[in-house]
Symmetry: C2
């Protein structure tokens, strides 16, 4: 892939010229194409209906670094993926997908704000393939050992079921999810909040390298961009809308995961949450999300049921079976009427069970055929 054709340079320029998300700019690009849009932004001349783009792009219109950015990402072993590319996940970010699946967003700029202009990527696989069967796993940067264990379990199990584990590359639950996916040999993808040359947190530089080798590290920000709080929120938006579903593992009271879950909800993407002790601060947001309608999940199969394709239903938990399990009311009453050790005549059993004699005889015969009671002359007893 050449990093320097004219359209790609235009996309790279547009990716830097406005702070994401920028609905008006996306609207302009949709209307006139990337190259014409870049030209208008540079010249500060817009058709009347796109005049909002002027304010959104004025501060950086003169920063022409697009070719340098493309060169830079090339040196990092990465690429810029744009809506023109085959691997662009159209089914997640495409106009049709966003328009139809966010019915509560009635103003076009609203659903356009969900979409990144383009994505800076380090990784081998195609983005659309990676995100096709994928789940986002998010949570607190300071999990309990319970949370770490649960993140590890779900990520490993979902990987084994063919899911790409998507997260934000942060410390805590994010890191545990990425690592478990790598350990399971499954692909994993990290959306980050700054340029790909600025791994954040720095302590995860090695982890990002491995994610880039086995999956992808992805940013909507060009190289050199420093992470900032609003960029973390925007990153959360991509984690929330780019996959089939969001699983919140552990999250304390003030948690960015609530933000991620809200984006998913806008997009009608299922949100699952793992419960924990009500005495643990680390599960507060999980419990609030469940109270607000998220699906409580206790095992991988339940996540797959919620986020997978139709027909992936979680199997029932296997129950230990007891001999008396399938007895109906009268049979159970006769069974319970028998004392633990001694034997009784049918008439006495009838009085204790409160059933007519005929019915009791029938039930005793049934219980005998199941090996639950034993006849002893005119008396009946429980089989030891």
């Amino acid at each position: 892939m050449s990093g320097c054709d004219g359209a790609r340079v235009a996309w790279a320029y547009l990716s830097r010229v406005a702070e994401a998300p920028c609905g008006p700019l996306i609207g302009l690009i949709d209307a006139v194409g990337a190259e014409a849009a870049a030209d208008m932004v540079r010249r500060r001349e817009f058709p009347e209906e796109f005049v909002d783009v002027l304010e959104a792009t004025a501060a950086r219109a003169d920063r022409v670094r697009a070719e340098a950015d493309l060169e830079h990402i090339g040196h990092l072993g990465g690429r810029l993926v744009t809506p023109d590319d085959e691997e662009w996940p159209e089914y997640r970010f495409g106009e049709l997908a966003l328009k139809n699946q966010t019915p509560q967003m009635t103003h076009e700029d609203e659903w356009r704000e969900l979409r990144p202009v383009a994505l800076w990527v380090i990784g081998h696989g195609r983005l659309d393939d990676l995100l096709e069967r994928s789940a986002s796993m998010v949570g607190t940067r300071a999990p309990s050992s319970y949370g770490e264990r649960v993140a590890d379990q779900f990520a490993g199990d979902l990987s084994a079921q063919g899911f790409t584990i998507v997260s934000g590359g942060a410390y805590g639950i994010d890191g545990a999810a990425h690592r478990a996916a790598l350990a399971a040999g499954g692909p994993t993808l990290a959306f980050v909040a700054g340029g790909l040359d600025r791994p954040y947190p720095a302590g995860h530089a090695g982890l990002f390298r491995r994610i880039g080798e086995e999956g992808a590290v992805v940013s909507e920000y060009p190289p050199g961009t420093v992470p900032g709080r609003h960029r973390f929120l925007n990153r959360n938006r991509l984690v929330g809308i780019a996959t089939r579903g969001v699983l919140v593992v552990e999250a304390g009271f003030r948690s960015g995961t609530r933000n991620t879950a809200t984006w998913a909800k806008h997009r009608a993407i299922p949100v699952c949450a793992v419960p924990g002790p009500i005495t643990a601060a680390t599960s507060v947001t999980c419990h609030q999300l469940i109270r607000d309608g998220a699906t409580l999940v206790t095992r991988c199969e339940e996540v797959v049921e919620a986020v997978g394709t139709i027909g992936e239903i979680a199997p029932e938990i296997d129950a230990p079976v007891r001999a008396t399990d399938d007895l109906d009311g009268p049979a159970l009453r006769v069974h319970d009427a028998l004392p633990a050790r001694s034997a009784l005549p049918a008439s006495e059993i009838a009085a204790i069970a409160g059933l007519p004699g005929r019915a009791v005889i029938g039930q005793l015969a049934l219980l005998e055929s199941k090996g639950l009671v034993t006849r002893d002359g005119a008396l009946w007893r429980l089989t030891r």
Copy 2:
């Protein structure tokens, strides 16, 4: 109150003559009254539409112990409470309440099966008063220390909010709930599965005595009845339908609490469940109930919101407040554009934030008025 008027003797007789629950017998009593119904059962002669009562009562029709039963309960310091008594909780067990509030039960005998014939009671307060503002708390007989702690907390808090704590008097969660209510000085009520002269479990004899002193011990079975498995299930039905709501604290895979919750559901009574670690067997049924529609609760206020009267809404959890909490998008972008230690000119801040210069000046003034940024000549920095 006299224990030996004719109607009361008839109720006592009817309370023993059929194994509860017995919809057809309740139907007969509703139609002809207790005394005439008792007479028909004794003579084994029924109007055609009540012929089902014959089979249900034939085995015990000749057991005429009613006066002895009433004498016996009197010796125990108790009484028989019947639908003729003012204290009968008509709003829970009355024909109108049951008929209107169990719309999915279309056959009359079905909702009649919910109702006890009469109730044997040891306790001072009126039953209707005790059950008016009440909540059932149920759970496993073998709780974790987490479950015991949570039961204690909820029962104590609900008591303080004026709720009668209703449970089944069993070991584990039931006992913890009763004890916490007693410790909080609130009333508590135990529905038991056998005669009131046969405390079960025997280890709770002392607890039942205290419950009888401060609240009530209640059974639909006459004195002398031994507990049996179907009687525990029937007891669960009363715990499930006699109160304003059911709270499941901790319950393992095979748990009678599921049965209690199902009865509540039939009766359109709210079911709440406390989550726990997904790694704990003791929370399996709680999680399944929540997945099936029960309300996840983490504190007393949420239970009150679910089961209390209209308008009892749980207050929001208090959040620690940060200075930047109420900043909107542009203000937050400007704030985040400022580096941790150094100062920048407004033009540079504008480029980093991706906002036009004018807008940045406005936001900086706003942030300065909130004490978040400080001007230093032509430069701006974050306030330490």
